[in-house]
Structures are given as structure tokens and as C-alpha cells.
């Protein structure tokens, strides 16, 4: 890849994106518009995350890429390969060993530490979008901290279903100020956003927005006193590693209703299994 700059983007573009990232860090939860570039991978595949990663990655970084918690899904493989080709940095599947993690739809089960950066790919950054389709309006609502409609929406769920029926991209308030859509992570992962030791960066390429949760920032999932925020739980452990309290994927294994529940975080799961039990061929 000698025809391309380190990490594909030219230095001017990286500088522009870094400025947006700095602004995002300075105003936690605020969506900063940026001059998103057309990338050589498709919109919806993580162009925002890729641009953020490309502008913060350095030669000494160790990169991990996951999709749905897994290191070996096709899109994670493809993005990891893209950076391996364009930067030559070391890549890993280990959450602990990584300095930079790009992810789609999950936050790793292994606790992040200070100094790490987690880059989340975001399809629709605006938390108010399903309530108000117009960008001109939603920007005004954020400026005026006019978030009542979101509480009304959650309340309507409670009157209809007896509970909040939002299961992923569950809305949060960042640092007591901005309403934020934490990308389509399951609400199971929301508690990991709160006072995270790692820097969390969110990149939305098609929508041209970057936002951030700086380390140790308070992130509160919206709820009511009589309906406190809850995460989903499974009444069984992981069928492979026996973990309880991890997010489980459900696999349909035959046509008779047979199910397997396994950790969605493949690195976490593999580490918990005895070394004598190597990952099976299918993984």
C-alpha cells in the first residue's frame, strides 16, 4: 500500500477529524459535525469508526476489531485487514493487549482500562431521530436541553408494556447534559459506559458526526424512580465457558428447537475455556 498514506487518510483529513474528536471530548455527548470522507468501504459498514480509528492510530498501537462482540465475523476481519494493510500495526484479539479497539454493537466483557480507546461505529447518531426526523429541529432541542419527548416515549412504553421496551441503543445522558445514543449496543452494555476508564469515541460516517465520552465521565441511562433501568439477563450460563452474567448469543442448532447460548464476546469466552479445549473448527 505504498500509494496510500499511513492509515489511508491524508494528514490534512486526519487533522480535521482529530479537531472534531477534541471538540467531542471537550463537550461530552455532543455530536460534532465533521467532513466525513468517502471511504473505500461501504456506508453502513463502519466508515465513521474507520475514519476515527485512522485518525487516532499510531505505529505503536495494538488494534482489535470486533463486530457483535466477535473478532472473527466477516466485517471485523475486513476492517482489521484494512488497517493491517494500511498501517502495518500489530493486531490482536485480546481485549487486554489492545490499545485501540474498534467495535460494532458491543463493548467487550473484559473491563477496559485507562489509556485504551474504544471506537464505536454508529449508524444513526441522533437519539431524538425517531421522535423528530428533522436535523434542524433536533439540533435546537439539544441546544435547549429539550429532552421531555424522550421521557414521554419511555413512559408510553411503560403504560403499554409495563416496562421500557427499548433493548438496544438505549438513550443516556452524558455528564448531566447531552442526550446521547450509545450506538446500537445492547442496553446490557450501557453500565460499561458509566465512568469508563477508557476513552469512548463514536463515529458516524454517513451522518457525518463524531461524539465522545471522555474517561471517568458519568453516563446515566434514562429511567424513572419507580421503573429503574435494568439490563437483560439469561437464566442459564454460557454453554461453552459457563460464564454467568455475560451477554449470550443464541444459536439455533437443529430443526427441533435446539438452542445453544454462547458468549457474544469471543475473546472473553475463549479465555475462560480450558486450554485443552481449543476453539472448535467452526470458530
Amino acid at each position: 500500500m505504498t500509494h496510500y498514506n499511513f492509515a489511508y487518510l491524508d494528514e490534512q483529513t486526519k487533522r480535521m477529524i482529530r479537531r472534531a474528536v477534541l471538540k467531542a471530548v471537550a463537550v461530552p455527548g455532543y455530536q460534532v459535525p465533521f467532513g466525513s470522507r468517502e471511504m473505500p468501504l461501504s456506508y453502513g459498514w463502519g466508515t465513521g469508526g474507520v475514519q476515527v480509528t485512522a485518525s487516532v492510530i499510531g505505529p505503536t498501537d495494538v488494534l482489535k476489531v470486533i463486530d457483535q462482540g466477535a473478532d472473527d465475523t466477516t466485517n471485523a476481519v475486513s476492517i482489521r485487514k484494512f488497517f493491517a494493510r494500511t498501517t502495518g500495526v500489530a493486531t490482536t484479539t485480546s481485549t487486554e493487549a489492545a490499545t485501540l479497539i474498534q467495535t460494532r454493537h458491543r463493548i467487550p466483557e473484559t473491563a477496559l482500562r485507562e489509556g485504551q480507546i474504544l471506537v464505536l461505529q454508529v449508524p444513526i447518531p441522533e437519539p431524538l431521530r425517531w421522535l423528530e426526523p428533522r436535523e434542524a429541529e433536533t439540533r435546537k432541542m439539544h441546544a435547549l436541553e429539550e429532552y421531555g419527548v424522550m421521557y414521554v416515549r419511555l413512559y408510553e412504553d411503560i403504560t403499554r408494556h409495563g416496562r421500557v421496551a427499548q433493548t438496544y441503543e438505549y438513550p443516556v445522558i452524558v455528564d448531566g447534559r447531552y442526550l446521547m445514543r450509545p450506538s446500537p449496543i445492547p442496553k446490557f452494555d450501557n453500565p460499561k459506559l458509566d465512568r469508563s476508564p477508557a476513552l469512548l469515541l463514536f463515529g458516524a460516517g454517513r451522518e457525518k458526526r463524531i461524539y465522545a465520552v471522555p474517561p471517568w465521565t458519568a453516563v446515566k441511562s434514562l429511567d424513572f424512580d419507580d421503573h429503574p433501568f435494568e439490563v437483560e439477563h439469561w437464566d442459564r450460563p454460557c454453554d461453552l465457558c459457563g460464564a454467568r452474567g455475560a451477554f449470550l448469543d443464541e444459536l439455533i442448532v437443529d430443526d427441533k428447537g435446539g438452542r445453544l447460548f454462547i458468549c457474544s464476546d469471543t475473546d472473553f469466552c475463549a479465555r475462560r475455556r480450558p486450554a485443552a479445549d481449543p476453539p472448535r473448527a467452526m470458530w
Binding site: 459535525p33 470522507r37 468517502e38 461501504s42 453502513g44 466508515t47 433493548t167 438496544y168 437483560e232 437443529d254
Partner: protein, 369 residues
Amino acid sequence: MYVAVKGGEPAIDNAHRLLARERRGDPSVPELSLAQIEQQLALAVDRVMTEGSLHDRALAALAVKQSRGDLIEAIFLLRAYRTTLPRLGVSLPLDTATMVVHRRVSAIFKDLPGGQILGPTFDYTHRLLDFELADPGEGSAPPMEEGRGPRAEVSLPRVMDLLDREGLIESEPPAREEDRVGDLTREPLTFPAGRDVRLQNLARGDEGFLLAMGYATQRGYGRNHPFAGEIRHGEVTVSLAPEELGFAVEIATITVTECQMVNQFKGSATSPAQFTRGYGLVFGGAERKAMAMALVDRALRGRELGEEPTSPTQDEEFVLSHSDSVEASGFVQHLKLPHYVDFQSELVLVRDLRAAHGTPRVPATHAIR
């Protein structure tokens, strides 16, 4: 067992190999050359250049070949290449009055200075399959009669300028030097958008989308009473005035199609009745796109002209946010990426809700491990 999207790297490599083989097709059939695509699929090349925002016939032809004729994919390829190019300067506005005209029609005057020039058009062809074309070696194209081609020394006055002289149509505000032209590919779109950025968006916008939007305005969704004031197609020169030179130099000659729509406007309390404009400009001969673009441009000028917006075609956010085929195609198609984490969350919720409702749970048997 479960292999669907796991198994990553070899699967991707194999997919790429299969794709390359499919693209080539039967090896006993001669391979397409870029020159063939450029010459004989010229309108495909024009569309890819227009919506790809890059005037380069050879690269556009390459993109058409690489994408197996999927023009939206070709546009994407060209865009992804374009984004890596440096911006060396901004050209002066094209002067389409000096165009070397190949085609020029006006639907509002029977005759006008310079006359109507039909040029190469499908308009009056009978859409009968020409089976002679099916035979290889169809022979040479019919020769052009001596002295009948486009002439560089004749410039045709623009119909809009003729109307403007009488004050019948709104004047274009003169370009001011300090007005920087926006660039969507460098800065994000914000609302309300200026006309420069809007026209850039529409020029890059998907032809099918604009066609449908323009058509909708004709059927009453944001009707704006259009007349095709003038459509002209031909060659114009592109000039650049580098600051250090202090004068303009011609850097290229390109082929474009321009459409100027004339639209009725009854006037308001503050302004007398006057025709208004809708504008479309595309590379090459993408005439349908130029016309649709002009209709949509005019529909989106509603706010500026004090018209009450009544339909999505007049809604700037609706139109400009959804016109881009590369963005739309990406987001629609990303639905095939794995979403099983989100879906698992939904499964947990729906099972809980059904249990709360008293629906008996169908027990899931354990798989044999």
C-alpha cells in the same frame, strides 16, 4: 452447523476470487476494453462521472467495467478514488453561453436566435429493437454531412438571458468574488442549505431518485408549473485563475448538458409576477437527470420564494438527505451485516413480554454438545 458469518478471512478471499471470475464471465467471449466502454456505453460513463463528481472518462469506464455494469457501484468506486485526490484550486464559473453546441432545444419559443438544434437524441426514435445491431460488425456509423457539425465560432445566446432582458424572469444574483462555493465532500451538509451546496447535492444525487421527485412535482406534490426554457448540450472550456498568476488559463474542455426550467410565479405583495428558475447541469449527455434536477431545484426554492411547503419534494431535509445513492445503498445494504446482538436483545424482550402476557413459553431443548 453454525458457519454463517464466522470463518472470516478465507471466506472473504474466496468471495473476491469468485466475484472476479463472475465479472469476467465466459473467457471465450472477448474481454471489454475501456475504450469500448468509453465510446459505446458513453451515457453510462457520463452518469458515473456526474454522480461520482469526477470528470475522467477513462476512470469512469474502468469503474463501469470493475462493477460489472452496476452503475451505483461504479459511482461508489469513482467517489472512493476521488476522495484521495488533492484540491488544487477552484475553477471559474463555466460560461455556458460560449458553449460549442451539439444540441439545443427550447420548448417555449418556436424559433429563437441560433435556432433549435436537435442533435443526437433518442427523443424521436421508435423504440424498436434494431436487430442489425445484434450482428457483430454492424459496420461504420453513418457519415456526418460536410459543414453540418457543431461550430466553435458560433455561440448561441441563452434563452434565459433573452427573457431576463425584458425582466420577465428573475435575475440570477451576480456571483461575488468573496462568495466561497461550498463543497459537500469536504464539509458536512447543514440546514438550511445554500443553493450552491444544494445544486452540488443534486448533481451528485441519484438519477432515479431525482427523476421520481421531479415527476412527483409534476403530479401535484409541490407543483411548480415548469417549462423547459432551454436544454443545451455541448463543449465548454474550464478555466482556472491561480492567485499567483492573476489571470485565467484554460485547463480543459468538457461536455455538459444544461437545463434551464422556467417556472410560473404569480408574484407576492412585495414582488410583481415573474418567471422563476430551476437549474440542472450534468457531465456528458445525462439529459434526463439534468431536467429532473432542475425540477427539484425549483421545488426546493419554495422557502426562498415564500411558498408554503406542502410535500416532501419541497422539503430540503427530506430531499437532500436521501438523494445520494452511495449513502442510501450503503445504509440499506448494511442490513445484511450481522445484527444478532440487537436481535438477541429483542428476543429476550419479546419472550419476557409474551410470558407476562400469559402466553406459554415453548421450551427450547438443549443442543447436544
